[in-house]
Symmetry: C2
Subunit: 300 residues, 2 copies
Amino acid sequence: MSEGAFIAGDWGTSNLRLFLCDAHGRVLDSATGPGVAGSDGRCAEIFDSLTSGWTATAPAVLCGMVGSNIGWMQAPYAACPATLAEIADRSVSLRDGRIRIVPGLSCRNRFDAPDFMRGEETQVLGVLALEPTLRHGRQLLCLPGTHSKWALLNEGVVLEFLTAPTGELFNLLSHHSVLVRERGEVTPVAFRNGLEQFARFPRARLLDRLFECRSRTLDGELAPGDATAFLSGLLIASDIAGALETLGEVPEVHLIGSPNLTRLYADGLAHQHCRSNATDGSDAVLAGLMQIRTQLSGKR
Amino acid sequence: MSEGAFIAGDWGTSNLRLFLCDAHGRVLDSATGPGVAGSDGRCAEIFDSLTSGWTATAPAVLCGMVGSNIGWMQAPYAACPATLAEIADRSVSLRDGRIRIVPGLSCRNRFDAPDFMRGEETQVLGVLALEPTLRHGRQLLCLPGTHSKWALLNEGVVLEFLTAPTGELFNLLSHHSVLVRERGEVTPVAFRNGLEQFARFPRARLLDRLFECRSRTLDGELAPGDATAFLSGLLIASDIAGALETLGEVPEVHLIGSPNLTRLYADGLAHQHCRSNATDGSDAVLAGLMQIRTQLSGKR
């Protein structure tokens, strides 16, 4: 086994994933641990315990909620517009620089509201490394999830972004709402039914369409188990429409996330006449941490 | 005490309220009991036990979920457009007609989706009795709640309606979402802040504004306890905007509901340049049940 040269860590609210990489960024070993919410202020101990068998001198770069006020050490947000170099520069240093924590990004969004991301900025940087064409021109990136992030880039600089709590709304409504009486799988047919019903009245308000998850099952148009997928279609279509209206129409969106979720967004984008490409979120975060590592090394 | 001539019952999912009324509709006595969801199929027993001390021969009219498939006896929905006489005619009869259960209303809404109400139709009929001017011309009525109903009437006929699960979304998001970290009261100032922020970008999608409940507290614009009220403002403003866009602008909306809730909607309507009047939902349901009783008596 080649020697570990670098530890990459994706430490979010719910999960920690650590990777020991060689000098070329190849993963030699990996470990998982509790997210920041379950770390109980013991981030240092957890990190040391999980990496104790690894090269003791390997420097680490960590991103995600580990840099929040409930994490290991607070890494204040870098303000948009932000370049790779600026994000790397704003990382905070622990243990004489052996550990760096990536800052999140902040912006004032199109609704004159503050907006924040923490962890997604690293995935964005990773995608720019993996897909060099995205470094040029105006690009719209979408990171779907509990809180979906839509990032607008120009020449590789993150200009601004927008957050939509689409996944959180989906989870709350499909688990706890009377709108979905019988939770089912997100099957393609019922999901597309939601996309298509949305598209018939694209300017309608989401609040005026959600009751359909229930009413269409009550009158037999929708099988009870299909309300979950129909809801997913309505929400994702609304998320996409909002982002394209707000940040501007584009011919193509680059998706970053789990294949299950990016497939749904790709389908939703196609329904709104927008092409898409996708990168797995795990690949993106690793590539992003490597980019930051390289940027920091180059400065020394 | 004058003799009980009529029992009026509002039997919803969560609560049962029974009223013994005299021939003029004055309440002589009342009782409360479990909603349909807690009745466990024992509606007849519950009704008999609560009314055992009342005039045995008094006929009863019951509205709400008592007429659903989890209630006492199913009263199939009457289709819009629906008049008072049609709603009364479609009531189902129990115990040789001594007990009548009011049907709910169904319609095909503006989004070509099925829509339903059960209980609110009786409040609408009650308001038409209490506010005779509403029997003329085109009128928009709003019954805010867990599932807000907006009913469009012409010459006293319910033409169509629209459901928005505004209250349910508020409850889910304020109790279970990371968007609202510290649940607080719906204070007027923070509520109006939500209305005003909505009004700055009235065409924005709700999904693109919800994260502000969190981001504005993160950056200190909003006190943590004010996120609840801010959320309420955003949701109610979106509910109102959707209804006015869908069912048509009106100079005035008539609100039916609890004073706490109708006050918030009145405030929201005023922000969208719409006047409003309000009737207490309890008064409306009692007047509606009396209307149906009178209609049924007149037919005999």
